[in-house]
Point group: D2
Chain length 306, copies 4
């Protein structure tokens, strides 16, 4: 007989997908930031669950307003810093909020070229690719910054990569249900979802050069994908994470999820044709999904989950 007592477990709430475009001006020249901001708060919220007493609830509508107001009051800047500013605000200013998570997606825009010159205030959206920051802050209202736990994760999603050669797959375990032929030359394609945790540094976290860190990490992910001769997508995954850790001192750990976007060689023999790795069917489903973490040995785990 199960025990009758029912209790509230882990819970959190917040405003998701606050879409904001912020324009900043330097004379005639504009910059834009195009973000999707999601906030979650956890803490002392039993009352609203158990009795509907909302005295401790900071409405999600207020959270949304705060995003817009902060963009004006402080500017947006880099998303890791904007996320930290928001997360610290909620934990510091609202007693019942013991933890705050902020996730920001940033959509890229390039300047349109006009007569060979970049237009001052005209832009075209770049790739399917999205830059991500995930920030978590824990600490009580009276605690102040020194005792807060903070986690900053940067990331990227929607980055689709393809090597048209330089990939093999063979020597795998065989059982009764195995029919896959071995291959010495295949297309390797994936949509990279990557997140990496930053080491705590000496300087205040919102004064770091987040932009350079992101650009360089992205460059190393692409470089390792491209110049790793691959015997498995797992091997490529590890090489990508390892490259980042070797090249970027500020990164503690890299997590990657790499769907294997299968490109199947089309059998042209029925038409009297050969297919020497020329014509492929790009399959939607099913797909392999390879997930893995590469980390720096000896670095402490974060106190905050991600």
């Amino acid at each position: 007989m199960p025990p009758a007592e029912v209790v509230l477990g882990e819970n959190r709430y917040g405003k998701a997908e606050v879409r904001i475009v912020a324009v900043s001006r330097d004379g005639d020249r504009h910059e834009i930031k195009d973000l999707n901001v999601s906030i979650a708060l956890a803490g002392d919220f039993d009352a609203t669950h158990l009795t509907g007493d909302n005295a401790d609830v900071l409405p999600t509508d207020t959270q949304k307003n705060t995003v817009y107001a902060f963009a004006k009051e402080h500017g947006v800047g880099e998303i890791e810093a904007f996320g930290l500013r928001l997360a610290r605000h909620f934990v510091d200013s609202h007693g019942p909020s013991r933890r705050c998570w902020v996730r920001i997606e940033e959509y890229g825009w390039d300047r349109i070229q006009l007569g060979g010159q970049p237009a001052p205030h005209s832009f075209a959206r770049t790739g399917p690719e999205t830059r991500i920051a995930e920030v978590a802050v824990a600490g009580g209202a009276g605690a102040g910054g020194s005792s807060r736990d903070e986690l900053v994760v940067s990331g990227i999603s929607g980055l689709v990569l393809l090597n048209s050669t330089g990939s093999e797959f063979h020597g795998f375990h065989q059982d009764r249900y195995t029919t896959l032929p071995e291959t010495r030359d295949r297309i390797l394609a994936t949509e990279v979802s990557a997140r990496w945790r930053h080491l705590p540094g000496d300087q205040p976290v919102d004064q770091r050069d987040w932009r350079t860190s992101f650009d360089e990490t992205r460059r190393h992910l692409l470089g390792a994908f491209a110049d790793t001769y691959s015997l498995s997508l797992q091997q490529t995954l590890y090489a990508m994470g390892e490259r980042v850790l070797r090249e970027r001192d500020e990164v503690a750990e890299v997590r990657l999820a790499l769907p294997n976007r299968h490109h199947l060689l089309v059998d042209l023999a029925p038409f009297g044709l050969t297919n020497e790795s020329e014509v492929f069917y790009a399959s939607d489903r099913p797909y392999g999904l390879i997930e893995g973490t590469v980390r720096r040995a000896g670095v402490a785990e974060s106190a905050l989950a991600w």
Copy 2:
């Protein structure tokens, strides 16, 4: 200076989104099962990451084949049981696989009515709603069933609910950024994402009545949503979880994610019209997101994460 040593952390891999439709026959009358099956394996897979040696890798293609073959050999049955059968197989038959997760989505179909009678082999897809099973099995190849850890979670996604009255929101915390007016009558709408963990039982887990358990749990989720007079979506969330735990002895814990699909009262005053909770704008973004767990006190946690 960060330590130079780079190591492989947590990792897993498998085939995702294996789409299978299985037809079973009882004379002229057919039954269909329409599933989307995803598998992940974790264990001793360092070699493929570090050197590309795939000797311990069971290809994701083989995993896919196993799904289809098992549907023939054992039938599909209820998805919790099908998931357990698959997960046990991989952990038991493939030494390096220490853990296996199987996630199955089941799409519903109703019989088409012909002249007032259900057609024997003609079907129409039901709702946007999807039934879910998530199974995890841990244990070595030689361990046998008695020492395995097993987790069975059932769930539902895409279940969209709306109360057109019986919902208030007021008495909340106010700060500098608060503009939301209090309301004594609003639409409450959400898209339920629910998962619930089953208690280990006396009988073999694949002989339980999973279908009844799912149907009844779903009925209680809907009932609690409909007849809870709501002062916050958090209160409704807790009521839904509590109802399931009070009514279904086999459930240890319920996790709910409830996006608040805001329906905003349209201001008709500029047109000389009143709006007595009659005309609403259904907003897409941003939305509140309420997440929470309701559990049975004193029940052991699962050894396996979900």
Copy 3:
């Protein structure tokens, strides 16, 4: 040398995807209508294109407001009638608007059951299926109703149907690139997209029983799909259209688009298993797409395109 003169051709504009939920009350019992309304206007709009003079432009924001105001002033009722009311309004009240198209999607909701009784104001969304009305009205502001051209089309999208037997495909044309084997038993599945044009009737078009017309037409589409023994999806398409025209006197013409959702028999022979139409792989892409019109001979074409 191409002629230098550049001219404005066909054009139209309007507000798309106005999301409205309207609640009506009969004592404690509520009804809801959940719509997505899109409007387009064509007429004398050269000035805004050529010089940016907007004097003749009715802003799309005003169109949106009109949808909400009309829901209050006139109620929503059936979507064909609501669409006609809106389209007539724009053509009659705004001189430059010579034509108006209104497209409405209606999402279905069922009452939640509470203790075996339907709840008075609690609802769950039904299927992926959407009811559609497309209305077009042409005529000048001074013309009045008698000289207007009007077109009313009803429709359905997202209706997914499957026959698990009763379908063959053979005897087709073969050429050098044909590899498809003939089959005497296959799954036939499709996602119905159907639209049907209503005959002009004696009574005012907004007093027709649109609800019954829709429900019965839907019933006949399903019935014909289910009880047609099919030698090709084209044959099933024709049977569906023909059934509607034979059974529903108010319908002039039916247009159907039926993607062939291929279900491929999985080859289980490598595992020593047979597959007697039991286990199928549900493929996403590519898919066959069958489009066709079935009409009543001798009925005049509509003066308005659809």
Copy 4:
């Protein structure tokens, strides 16, 4: 009483969304083409609709095979030429097929940079933007090329553009339902869907420089969007079409669909802040939709619909 006779009207069928990736090699350096090809045939297909006799039906599976075989036999090249080759093949080789439409979407890939050099066979997907070709060919099997009607349309979709200033909207028609304030400075953003019809030329259509034509047309669309001071999105639409026609002699007509992606100025006054066109809410729905055609006067219409 409606006439009893039911007849088959317009119809067509074909294989949709054939996903093909073709790799070509020049030594170590690879090129890839990533396409989504859809085919439709119309002609003498009454029998399959009325009786299920498929003798005149070229299976959609064969159409798919033809795409893959042609990629090997003839190469892919530019998508307009590949589409023409496929469409002519079906009309010329299969008697009952009187018309053929081929629509091709091409996804862009950039070379990954390695040490400042483009990698020889590693690629990253570009933007959300897709290049499109739509080809139609009409003519009997015995007709030969000289009497065929042919239509070639190029296009682009998913091209998202934004001007952060240089856009006004005022002086519009006002009625009872108007509440929109006039604005002298707004963000103008849209997702361009453009298609343009090519003039028949002297040289064979598959020897034209389709790539340059596409690149230049795209450049002019962006240029006109960026340097048009806009009083309405209609004015911008016309300017974009006109620019293309003035600059590209090979284009007969441009069709544009421009959703107005509204960016709403956030009211920061409740927080004691001003908002000088700095902080915007990017709204999803509803949206204005502006559609228009700009054409070269005096050029004959195509005999084929598009």
